[in-house]
């Protein structure tokens, strides 16, 4: 079976965000970019399924610029067989990304698609469902446990206060949450092999934007508060402040 895993190139979560001069995007200077952390669970799950079945192919797909090749190489080094970069120099909204992915998934003929539950830059968490709807596939988001038997899919997804067990069938898009598996490290052999694998490049499918960023800015800074004390003797005063000043208990 062919499996597509979608990966996204994002700023490291340790990044201190600065706003760019266009006031619509972040300033990329000094920012370290990484594979979206949730996409690592997606890559791992795809590789595990292929290994268990003993056959098949895992194809990584990414929408972005040449810079995304670094993230694609990371997926290849983990063991992904081949990769496609859908190129667009401009920022796309979620629907724009989903349209590009859906077209490529259709061309690949993959009935099983993995991606992270959200990318840690725009935090939209809707690309999986949009892609699935465009393809008329099923979708289970935020998955922490997965079983696939033939066409049947049983997935557990995280919701408020617990988990939902969802039953569906192939074709399906699964978006992956931390806890689904333990992503492998790329081996030296994998890293060497990844350098030899080619990344197919093609323009991303065209789309009409449905949203426009007017302005990006930093949230208002918080004033540091009061240090009440340095041991347990400060506790009564803390409780008094919480009760009388903050009125939160």
């Amino acid at each position: 079976m062919k499996i597509v895993v979608c990966v996204s190139h994002v700023p490291d979560t340790a990044t201190r965000i600065k706003i760019g001069s266009d006031v619509k995007t972040i300033d990329p200077n000094g920012v370290t970019y990484i594979i979206n952390p949730y996409d690592e669970y997606a890559v791992e799950e795809a590789l595990k399924l292929k290994e268990r079945s003993g056959s098949g192919e895992v194809v990584a797909v990414s929408v972005g610029t040449d810079n995304s090749k670094e993230t694609i190489r990371k997926a290849l080094a983990m063991g992904v067989d081949s990769a496609v970069l859908l190129k667009d120099e401009n920022h796309r909204d979620s629907l724009g990304i989903a349209k590009a992915l859906a077209e490529e998934i259709k061309a690949q003929g993959a009935k099983l698609v993995f991606m992270g539950k959200q990318s840690v830059d725009y935090d939209n968490s809707i690309v999986g469902q949009l892609t699935a709807e465009l393809l008329d596939y099923n979708c289970v988001p935020v998955v922490v446990k997965l079983e696939i038997e033939g066409e049947k899919v049983i997935a557990e997804r995280e919701i408020e206060g617990g988990r939902e067990v969802v039953e569906t069938s192939l074709p399906v898009v699964i978006t992956c949450q931390k806890g689904l598996n333990e992503p492998r490290y790329a081996s030296l052999k994998g890293i060497m092999a990844a350098k030899k694998k080619t990344i197919e490049e093609k323009p991303a499918a065209s789309f009409t934007p449905t949203s426009e960023v007017l302005k990006m800015y930093l949230p208002p800074g918080k004033q540091p508060g009061r240090i009440i004390g340095s041991d347990a003797s400060a506790v009564p005063e803390l409780v008094r402040l919480l009760k009388e000043e903050a009125k939160v208990i």
Binding site: I159, G162, E164, V165, S211, I228, L238
Partner: protein
């Protein structure tokens, strides 16, 4: 095109959630500003508190009813709602940004050919257009966005918009539509509740522990304080990665973004990815030995000291005043 607003409400086990009443309130307020009308729809079997909806500002309610819709189904819910929306000519849809709302919004968006904006924390009507604000990078940045389509689906971050009650509200006008065939291509077969625990995403008070707690065997100090406060237990990434606590408790950029009334950070230094997930809390208390820890930069109240001494004292003091 004039907006016709539909608030899409969420029920769990037959009860409409509080976050959905925030949506009712926000939809009613927006309708008033735009000089248009808002209605509500709720999908499910029997719903115990459907008559409470008008208190939050919407009188006209449609109940899409089937016993097969008692549990969530992305295919069943999105098909039933989009069919109803097409028949009734709605073009502006509002949901809460819960696990269900976040999933349903993009499905509806494609089925109804709309723009889709999630996790909105503010919207303003300007020159007959609407400007939406939402956080990015787990709250490290904010963005103002305009939607370019006449048809829109938006989700509102829970706990941000108010659910104001009006006791003198008119009675509900409820139209029950039986859904005869439900599309169950995807269906929830079971809900596994975490045993008696409050979820950080929904809690009004959170007590979180970090590396300073030194080991999973000491987490009972956090749990006891949480219990005294009626709070949820949270954790930093460091302790989740170390396997001391489950990922469902993780607060921060690769965990949950929270904005409770009170956040108590115990033995958490305040790595940037943790601060991103909790600094929009209304009040923050930090307890940490290291007086230079970045957590004190966002804390309203701090105690620089040994949490093994301070936490039991705090738990006792809370029990006394509660």
């Amino acid at each position: 095109m004039a907006n016709k607003i539909l608030a899409i409400l969420e029920q769990r086990e037959g009860t409409i959630k509080r976050s959905s009443f925030e949506v009712v309130n926000a939809a009613a307020n927006l309708a008033q500003k735009l000089g248009t009308s808002a209605e509500a729809v709720v999908v499910g079997d029997t719903i115990s508190n459907i008559n409470d909806i008008p208190k939050y500002g919407i009188q006209k309610i449609t109940h899409l009813k089937s016993k097969d819709l008692f549990n969530y189904s992305s295919s069943g819910y999105s098909e039933a709602i989009s069919n109803f929306a097409k028949e009734s000519g709605f073009n502006f849809f509002m949901l809460s940004n819960t696990a269900l709302g976040k999933d349903l919004a993009p499905h509806l968006s494609v089925k109804l050919d709309t723009a889709c904006l999630v996790d909105c924390t503010k919207f303003e009507v300007k020159d007959n257009d609407i400007v939406y604000t939402r956080p990015l990078y787990a709250g490290k940045a904010l963005v103002d966005v305009k939607l370019l389509s006449d048809k829109k689906v938006i989700t509102l971050r829970p706990n941000v918009f108010k659910a104001e009650e009006n006791e003198n509200a008119p009675t509900a006008e409820i139209d029950v539509k039986e859904i005869s065939s439900v599309n169950l291509k995807s269906k929830v077969t079971e809900y596994k509740k975490s045993e008696g625990k409050l979820d950080v995403a929904e809690a009004d008070i959170i007590v979180s522990g970090g590396r300073g707690i030194k080991g999973p065997e000491n987490f009972h100090l956090i749990e006891e304080l949480a219990e005294a406060l009626g709070a949820a237990v949270g954790a930093s990434r460091a302790v989740v990665d170390a396997g001391w606590r489950p990922h469902s408790e993780q607060v921060g950029q690769t965990g949950k973004t929270v904005s409770p009334s009170l956040y108590v950070a115990c033995g958490i230094s305040g790595a940037i990815q943790h601060l991103a997930g909790m600094s929009s809390s209304k009040y923050i208390v930090a307890i940490n030995k290291d007086k230079d820890a970045p957590i004190f930069n966002v804390a309203d109240y701090g105690i620089t000291g040994d949490l093994f001494e301070i936490l039991p004292a705090l738990t006792n003091e809370i029990k006394k005043v509660k």
